[in-house]
């Protein structure tokens, strides 16, 4: 029996997980303070956000032209470009490159796009050995787990979890010291880098006018992944493109500042095609795989198109009061937090993620921190409308009850006398529910979800409109 995933159930589980709660507070607090410092040290952060948003808006409105330009420039630089309509096609393209080159071992640097297309599963099922080289992703791969934060994928794992995991997998003692644990991973990964036939990475930005991709990291594993093996495949969501190389500085500053609060990350790799004649480093072959997988569909809706401006910084996760309480796995898809709430339903289908647009109080804090000023509340509201429209077609009982409730709500609010009548009825009907402290402590039906943890002040005998009417009749 396949249990349907439920955000509510998963979030309830997350709320009870003490380790997760502690990790979420520590990680998000740390990222938030770091970002706040970068922003307050900057004298034109707001201006930069606006410029970045304008560039993204223009780029997405002319996406195909820029992708074409990018392709031309990568080919001129000696690279290959492939266009993948969806996950299956992307995996197939990558497998074919591996097969053609008799690849046995593949090393990977962190890429949410590769998570999106379930690449590892596809490669492994065809007999390839795939090794994640980002420490967080490496840990997740060893434990058969998925990322729960866009920047720090394994925050849901405790030091004890990792210590036990390494001890099991590598037959070593359970070390307590994070430095010790990291050096075990480092040693293991070194030999993987040196024996890999192919390296797969993501792309943070691609400049159309020069055919250059940028990869941002702090560990150095992406640098090794993209330079040691003889083949480098970079997988890129088509929305990651920017028109000009000159704009890289702006976007890198916004991405890195928003993600980790650094002025710049430890390594920034700018790659234009494969190793050139006379160069001593770099892969023989460079392949860029452009991934659509639902992005063109997002573009076709003007109300939600700005979902594609995202540069995957994770700042929205760190400020989201919901994410901070439930973590990434509760979102049930590749992406989490506010960006996950808007793109999981759009990439994977509204019917697959009907709860996500409602997994938000619409507080708008995400909108405040987004480096490209995505209006999350606006997009969420449009997705909520789509979910309800979709639900009408389903005819579920809960859906019909809610629909009827809002029709009743509408009727009442179009007739103030009816509203007043309801107030008076409510005043009398609430009496059995009022407790000793003159508060309502328990209510039936959906209202019990309020009274489970909160009291409610009783409806007063006279509403404002009644009081006003009486005063003015005096």
């Amino acid at each position: 029996m396949l249990l349907k995933y439920s955000f509510e159930e998963e979030s309830n589980k997350a709320l009870k997980n003490k380790n997760l709660q502690e990790a979420l507070i520590n990680t998000t607090n740390r990222f938030r303070s770091a970002r706040n410092k970068i922003v307050s040290d900057s004298d034109n952060w707001e201006e930069l956000r606006q410029v970045a948003r304008s560039i993204k808006e223009h780029t997405i409105n002319n996406l195909h032209n820029y992708l074409q330009l990018l392709e031309n420039n990568i080919i001129s630089a000696g690279g290959h470009v492939h266009w993948a309509r969806d996950s299956e096609e992307a995996c197939e393209i990558i497998r074919q490159i591996a097969q053609k080159n008799s690849v046995k071992k593949i090393v990977k640097s962190k890429s949410m796009a590769t998570e999106e297309i379930h690449l590892n599963k596809s490669l492994e099922s065809h007999g390839y050995s795939v090794v994640e080289t980002d420490l967080g992703e490496y840990i997740l791969q060893l434990s058969g787990d998925r990322p729960s934060h866009i920047i720090a994928p394994a925050i849901h794992k405790t030091k004890a979890d990792i210590s036990k995991l390494f001890s099991e997998k590598f037959n070593v003692p359970e070390y307590d010291d994070p430095q010790e644990l990291t050096s075990i991973a480092r040693e293991k990964l070194r030999s993987e880098f040196l024996s890999a036939d192919m390296g797969i990475s993501g792309v943070n930005f691609a400049a159309a006018d020069t055919g250059t991709i940028a990869i941002v990291e702090n560990e150095g594993n992406a640098r090794l992944t993209t330079t040691l093996p003889k083949i480098h495949i970079a997988l890129m969501g088509i929305e990651k493109i920017i028109p000009k190389f000159d704009q890289m500085g702006l976007f890198l500053k916004l991405l890195i500042g928003s993600a980790t609060g650094q002025k710049i990350s430890t390594y920034v790799s700018l790659i234009t095609g494969p190793r050139k004649k006379g160069e001593t480093d770099g892969p023989k072959e460079f392949h860029l795989v452009l991934l659509d997988n639902g992005r063109s569909k997002i573009m076709s809706n003007p109300n939600t198109r700005e979902s594609l401006y995202c540069i995957r910084c994770g700042a929205c996760l760190n400020i989201c009061p919901v994410y901070r309480k439930v973590g990434g796995h509760a979102y049930g898809g590749t992406y989490s937090g506010p960006i996950g709430a808007i793109i999981n339903p759009q990439l994977e289908g509204i019917d697959k993620h009907p709860e996500l647009p409602f997994a938000s109080s619409l507080c708008g804090a995400c909108k405040d921190v987004c480096p490209v000023k995505i209006d999350f509340p606006k997009v969420l509201l449009d997705l909520r409308r789509q979910v309800i429209e979709n639900k009408s077609k389903e005819n579920s009982r809960a859906g019909l009850i809610e629909k009827l409730s809002f029709k009743v709500w509408k009727g009442i609010n179009k007739h103030p006398k009816l509203l007043q009548l309801l107030n008076s009825i409510g005043y009398y009907m609430q009496k059995p529910f009022i407790g000793n402290n003159n508060k309502i402590t328990s209510l039936p039906f959906i209202f019990s979800r309020w009274t489970k943890t909160r009291d409610l002040a009783p409806i007063p005998k006279k509403s404002f409109r009644q009081i006003w009417k009486e005063r003015n009749n005096d």
Binding site: F7, E8, S11, N12, L15, P321, V322, K325, V326, P357, F358, A359, S360, S361, L362, C363, G364, A365, K367, K378, L381, R384, R385, Q386, V387, I388, E389, K403, F406, K407, W409, K410, I412, N413, K414, P416, L419, N423, N437, K439, T441, I446, F447, R449, W450, K452, T453, R454, D455, L456, A457, I459, P460, K462, S463, F464, R465, I467, W468, K469
Partner: protein, 252 residues
């Protein structure tokens, strides 16, 4: 520098947009608001008696058609040249910000929305920016932590106005609590759709209020305050919960 100017107030015509929550559950908030407006010198105050709701609950739940019908009624009920003053940042933002989205395909009501958007104000914003009054002669002995309601802060930019008014209340000590702009977990139907997440957010907010040392929490929105008060009442936490209009209405 904000000037005190009763001349402005006496020439200002105000229509009250009380909001469905305040009308039914917290009429005393509406009464306090009227009391303060009168004390500030506003003489011409009306209450368009056909008013009900701005439509936000349906809009936020994904029912724009139902919201639209109620919103049209709102626009018709308030279509004149008077200022509209409301004790809710959330409801004001629905009208002045979200009606543009709701009516994007209806030119007639879009234009009416734009006209009304220019005249509708949350109460503290109205006092400071329209009447030019920052001291309403109020008295309140207490340490007050101010909670920034999400819509008031992020859609309407309301942050300094309530704080300035509170600072000028005789006997009141204004405290800035940690995470004063974090969501309290209300979010309208969110509070009953995801009650456990909502309560977890609320717990964190209440802890910040307690940690600040305040004996009173104040905000511009009864949705938030109803949520906060509900939890504090359940946990017998003796911190007072007041709408800003209630604090400003106290003179002894």
């Amino acid at each position: 520098m904000v000037k005190e100017n009763r001349q402005i107030a006496s020439n200002t015509n105000v229509s009250l947009f009380i909001t469905c929550i305040v009308d039914s559950f917290f009429p005393r908030v509406g009464e306090s608001m009227v009391k303060v407006l009168r004390r500030a010198g506003v003489q011409n105050i009306t209450f368009p008696e056909n008013q009900t709701c701005c439509g936000q609950p349906a809009f936020n739940s994904g029912y724009p058609d139902e919201a639209r019908e109620v919103a049209i009624k709102f626009l018709e009920d308030f279509d004149d040249d008077r200022y509209i003053v409301s004790p809710s940042g959330s409801c004001v933002s629905m009208v002045s910000v979200f009606y543009k989205q709701l009516f994007e395909n209806d030119e007639q009501y879009l234009r009416l929305s734009e006209k009304i958007s220019g005249k509708i104000y949350e109460f503290s914003d109205f006092l400071i920016n329209v009447l030019g009054i920052s001291n309403v002669g109020a008295k309140y002995s207490g340490k007050v932590a101010y909670h920034d309601s999400c819509h008031a802060l992020r859609e309407l930019g309301i942050s300094n106005q309530p704080r300035e008014l509170l600072r000028n209340v005789s006997g009141l000590k204004l405290i800035e609590m940690d995470m004063h702009d974090a969501c309290c977990g209300f979010g309208g139907t969110f509070s009953v759709k995801l009650p456990n997440v909502s309560t977890a957010m609320l717990q964190e907010k209440v802890q910040c209020i307690i940690d600040s040392g305040a004996d009173t929490v104040v905000s511009t929105d009864m949705g938030c305050l109803m949520n906060i008060e509900g939890y504090m009442s359940r946990k017998s936490i003796p911190i007072k919960v007041h709408h800003i209009s209630e604090i400003l209405s106290i003179t002894d």
